[in-house]
């Protein structure tokens, strides 16, 4: 089932690559249809998922040997965390592919790269083999590189290259860390994540273990991104097409935080715990720095991009708090980890929606300059409504998904690192200010004459945003269905330590 979810978009990409007869409309229909397949499959897995106590951690597992001598195999399986992330990714991919795009006369290539990216992204969340994880981690760069470089605007090629080199440097660090971890295993070589989690190949804070952990953390910190490794993000976003931005922020950034929980957190718990505080401090710096810099941005996309640094900072703060082995605080650590995972989901949906909206602005006005807009509430009420809702969700308004995540992160973290949680709280004040000023500049005040004919959201755009935002509201009001599944994972992950 999971294998099929990974392979179907890849297969779709191949078909698109070779089906020379397909034109814009056909390519689009095919891509939308194919990208709906993993979503359906993952929903089926979700329905069959057993989140009760005593259920196995990884479910829907499948394994096909590949390189037995290295114990590398095609292993797939999900726990509550990866299932939720994969499902959110599949939904966001469907929405981004369905989003009306300017394909510059190369629709097949555009949709093929999108499907390719979907396959490898889902692969990353679904595999249980470290080597495959690395391969998918790197391949996701390739897909995104082409989407930005070929279909971006402005200095797209430069931005794509910077993104590629920077994150490739991160994956190199990650690669060395994988080697370090796998070679340290006392009972023979294996890339099986489940075995590595059970085995805990590296413990303590010796130089070797610390370096391996540093490799993982730097690799993932670049991808996430955390301060000070975040400068590739704004430039990549600004020049990327809207749907690619949505995927970059909504799915690709999560690979860093997901990897952090799945690999160093779970496989070298003791070492991770020893360095949890410095990680938490970096997270708080990211929260504040991202928010402060975002506030000063006059470019719509750069502003949203920097808020990603802020939000991913919340996620990492939750992860750091959950990873600290403070005795007697297991419930708080579980709460922090659940919060971090919900933040990944919420940020994917909300920021995905915001970047799609930014794309809509580009398609209509060819500029991201906030000062150029104003008064649009008069001509585009649907666009206004969707943006207001997404912005409030992003600033963590209760009743919307972001709050459920941030509240849990802060409540859980406070029990572990009270000062970090207290300082991090300032982030939610600054994000409130920066999103409200953004709304004010875009939608309120007098309407400049040049925008008097600005079209409102079209049917497809409206439908995609409606699905994402309805989910944001549902998670915000009644998240129990989601929390049950995620809790089943975070209880095991935290309890395993």
């Amino acid at each position: 089932m999971l294998t099929l979810a990974i392979l179907s978009p890849l297969l779709g990409a191949l078909i698109l690559a070779f089906a020379t007869g397909l034109h814009e409309r056909g390519a689009r229909m095919l891509a939308v249809a194919v990208s709906a397949v993993p979503l359906v499959l993952l929903v089926a897995v979700w329905i069959g998922f057993d989140a009760g106590p005593g259920a196995p951690q990884f479910q829907a597992v499948a394994e096909v040997p590949w390189v037995p001598s290295l114990d590398v195999a095609w292993r797939v399986g999900v726990d509550g965390m990866s299932l939720a992330l994969a499902l959110m990714s599949a939904l966001l991919f469907l929405g981004s592919i369905a989003w009306p795009a300017e394909t510059r006369g190369r629709p097949r290539a555009y949709y093929a790269w999108f499907l390719f990216l979907e396959g490898v992204s889902l692969g990353l969340f679904l595999v249980l083999d470290l080597l495959l994880f690395y391969v998918f981690f790197d391949l996701s760069l390739v897909g995104m590189y082409f989407l930005i470089g070929r279909w971006g605007h402005g200095e797209a090629e430069r931005a794509a290259l910077k993104f590629f080199i920077y994150t490739l440097a991160g994956s190199l660090a990650f690669l060395l860390a994988i080697l370090g971890l796998v070679l340290a295993s006392p009972q023979g070589l294996t890339f099986d994540m489940r075995v590595l989690i059970d085995m805990q190949p590296l413990t303590g804070t010796g130089l070797y273990a610390s370096l391996v952990l540093l490799g993982f953390l730097v690799g993932f910190a670049i991808k996430t991104p955390l301060f000070p490794f975040h400068t590739w993000l704004p430039s990549a976003h600004v020049d990327a097409p809207g749907p690619a931005s949505a995927i970059l922020a909504g799915v690709l950034l999560k690979m860093g935080t997901y990897g952090m929980v799945r690999i160093p957190f779970s496989m070298m718990t003791e070492t991770f715990a020893a360095y949890a505080l410095p990680l938490g401090i970096v997270a708080v710096i990211s929260i504040l720095w991202g928010a402060i810099v975002a506030f000063g941005q006059g470019n719509l996309k750069r502003r949203i991009a920097y808020t990603s640094v802020n939000h991913m900072g919340y996620t990492v703060l939750g992860i750091a708090a959950a990873g600290a082995l403070v005795s007697g605080e297991a419930a708080a650590r579980e709460l922090a980890l659940t919060g971090a995972v919900v933040e990944m989901i919420a940020h994917g949906l909300i920021t995905g929606a915001l970047f799609l909206i930014a794309g809509a602005f580009w398609q209509r006005g060819e500029t991201y300059d906030l000062d150029a807009y104003g008064g649009l509430a008069a001509t585009a009420p649907r666009l206004t409504g969707a943006t207001v809702l997404a912005a409030f969700a992003s600033l963590g308004l209760p009743g919307l998904a972001g709050f459920v995540a941030e509240f849990q992160i802060f409540a859980g973290t406070f029990a572990i690192y009270p000062w970090l949680a207290g300082i991090g709280l300032i982030g939610i004040l600054i994000t409130a200010a920066l999103f409200l000023t953004m709304l004010q500049q875009l939608f309120f005040g007098p309407l400049p004459p040049r925008w008097s004919k600005l079209p409102d959201l079209g049917r497809t755009e409206g439908a995609v945003l409606a699905v994402l935002l309805v989910l944001v509201v549902v998670i915000g009001v009644y998240p129990a269905w989601l929390l049950t599944v995620i809790d089943s994972a975070s209880a095991v992950i935290v309890g395993a330590g």
């Binding site: 082409f146 810099v293 509430a377 406070f414 029990a415 929390l483």
Partner: protein, 627 residues
């Protein structure tokens, strides 16, 4: 079941926002008023039936709702006050956007009811911030004027700063007890109790417009009249004082808490009184008086009498909503809220009478109910110290002064009756209902109906009444002799909350904007410099190697060839199926990507491909060598 109390107005409000465009004023008025009547009926049923509500999110997070006598009183009060205000809004406020306004007001009431019925800090926080978000939308309702959304933003950011206190309180409660229920506050001790107590106080002070947060109430005056009326009387601003009263038994265990509450309250009551006496803008005068009266409620809570605070909250809600409606009607006729240009006594004679009722209540003139509740605050304060009681009396005197000033300027007979557009009767009816309520609360004085409040010594009553009389006199003199007071010079500066907004602007907002701009520059120039440097180094290195010894490269080629042979051997071992499918598929994919790469024409991308492939090879080789 109790959730319906919040859900009903919120859902109907959302429906009106989405589907109410273009409906007539009558329909909107009936919808708004009818929903409030239904909410009131629900509230009565909930109070008499002892309803509760539980909604578990997961093990740690459970939303709970319950009513105590205090919260039941406020839950009933909210729809009672909101009903006439919604009727007034449907008749008075301008189109377009009237349906959005009515819908938002209903959601606003829903949020308020949620925070009133909340029985834990999480539920409270949800209602608390929803009310804040509604206030943002309501204050910026007329968004075509750029200043209005700015004022909404100001209000939201200032009150959200206070909300951080509530976040902190919830965090501390969870850290100390593993849950968020109000009942757990009693188990809290030490620093965590202090965080919780002062966190709640911070958010209550910000919501209730106490110093130093008071200026947001002035900015909130950018909203339509009905918004101001609801905001000040029964929602949002009332939330702060209500919360303190609700949690006083638990939080007063924190050392220094009660004293701080009293300090904040008394400081606001006195400064707010002075500001209101000088304010030349009718709605801002009432806004300053709102801060001052919530200050009095804070004093009552700090003195240990939360029930007295809630009594005054109820009385205040009735007369303050009435006064705002009166100010709105006068301002509508004059097309300005400048007090010295109102004088609508002849134009709106009925409203003038109703306004007088509200002003007398604001002044605290017996036998109105508001006088009873204010005197109860005096007595409560007197139980702690006669000096504190004296402070409250002075605040009461100031209240009498600005009440007189407001009424005489807004509804004085200083102008000839001009040709005026007729006032809808519904406006008068709404204000009339509130005036009846204000008068009806006089029953509080009746011996049989007297609530159980502390008894006042005689001297307090005498001094208090004297000060009220003096205040009325001063207010009359101010209004008659100096109708333009506060429009120029030092009084004008003092009228703007004694310079507090300027202090906030230059002390916090401006420095933060500069910090943000500076951080943006640092981010671009300094933090991004390292990767740029590395990139330049890489380019230089590539050039260097390109010029370098060909033999190295040759060796590399030979090694690659050998590696290829070895790989072929490995390929054999893996098996036919894989070795057939993989290269073919890969080749096609590579060709496909190659085409794209060429189009990019960066001339460098193949290097990174090499790097990527090299990485994968490196893993395999190293592992084989070391295992």
């Amino acid at each position: 079941m109790l959730w319906t109390l919040a859900l009903l107005p919120a859902l109907i409000g959302a429906g009106v926002i989405f589907a109410g465009a273009g409906r007539s004023r009558v329909v909107l008025g009936l919808l708004g008023g009818g929903t409030m009547a239904a909410t009131l009926a629900l509230a009565v049923a909930a109070v008499s039936g002892g309803w509760t509500g539980v909604l578990p999110w997961n093990e740690a997070l459970r939303l709970t709702a319950a009513l105590t006598p205090l919260s039941a009183a406020v839950a009933l009060l909210v729809p009672v006050i909101a009903l006439p205000i919604l009727v007034y809004a449907s008749a008075h406020e301008h189109r377009p956007g009237l349906s959005q306004l009515i819908g938002l007001l209903l959601v606003f009431v829903g949020g308020m009811e949620l925070l009133v019925i909340a029985d834990d800090l999480l539920t409270l926080l949800i209602g608390w911030e929803l009310v804040g978000a509604c206030s943002w939308a309501l204050i910026g309702h007329d968004w075509r004027v750029r200043d209005n959304p700015r004022s909404g933003l100001y209000a939201f950011v200032v009150t959200r700063f206070g909300d951080l206190g509530l976040f902190a309180a919830a965090m501390a409660l969870y850290a100390g007890t593993g849950g968020f229920g109000y009942d757990r506050l009693a188990d809290l001790e030490g620093p965590l109790l202090h965080v919780a107590a002062f966190g709640v106080l911070l958010s209550a002070a910000a919501k209730s417009g106490q110093v130093p947060f008071a200026p947001w109430l002035f900015r909130a005056m950018a909203g339509p009249t009905s918004v101001s009326a609801l905001l000040h009387a029964a929602t949002m601003v009332a939330a702060g004082a209500y919360l303190l009263a609700r949690l006083q038994p638990e939080l007063s265990a924190a050392a220094g808490w009660s004293g701080t509450v009293i300090g904040i309250g008394l400081a606001t009551a006195l400064t707010g009184g002075v500001v209101a006496c000088l304010q030349p803008h009718a709605k801002k005068l009432l806004a300053a008086s709102t801060s001052a009266h919530y200050g009095l409620m804070f004093v009552a809570v700090g003195a240990g009498y939360p029930a007295v605070a809630v009594l005054h909250l109820i009385a205040h809600a009735a007369f303050k909503a009435l006064l705002f409606l009166a100010a709105g009607s006068a301002g509508e006729q004059a097309e300005t809220f400048a007090l010295h240009r109102l004088g609508m006594g002849r134009v709106l004679p009925v409203m003038a009478v109703l306004s007088a009722v509200g002003a007398l209540a604001l002044a605290g003139v017996p036998p109105l109910g508001a006088a009873f509740t204010k005197e109860a605050v005096v007595t409560a304060a007197g139980h702690l110290s006669p000096w504190l009681a004296g402070g409250v009396m002075v605040a009461g005197g100031l209240s009498a002064a600005y009440a007189a000033r407001f009424h005489l300027l807004a509804y004085g007979r200083s102008r000839e009756a001009p040709e005026a557009p007729p006032q809808p009767w519904t406006e008068r009816a709404a204000a009339g209902a509130l005036a009846l309520l204000t008068l009806g609360l006089s029953v509080l004085w009746l011996p049989g109906l007297r609530p159980d409040t502390p008894h006042a010594p005689l001297w307090e009553v005498v001094v208090s009444v004297l000060l009220i009389g003096l205040g009325l006199l001063v207010g009359t003199v101010l209004a008659r002799r100096y109708p333009k007071a506060g429009t120029t010079g030092a009084p004008a500066e003092a009228a703007e909350w004694l310079g507090l907004p300027a202090l906030l602007r230059h002390g916090i907002a401006r420095p933060f904007e500069r910090l943000s701009a500076f951080a943006g520059t640092v981010d671009d120039r300094v933090i991004d410099a390292l990767p740029r440097l590395v990139a330049r180094l890489g380019r230089w290195l590539a050039g260097f190697i390109g010029r370098g010894d060909r033999r190295v490269v040759d060796a590399g080629v030979r090694a690659t060839a050998r590696f290829g042979e070895w790989l072929a051997g490995v390929g054999d071992r893996i098996g036919e199926a894989v070795s057939d499918g993989l290269p073919e598929g890969t080749a096609r994919l590579v060709a496909f990507s190659g085409a794209d790469a060429r189009r990019l024409q960066t001339g460098m991308s193949h290097h990174y491909y090499a790097l990527l492939a090299g990485g994968a090879v490196l893993v395999i080789v190293t592992i084989i060598a070391l295992s």
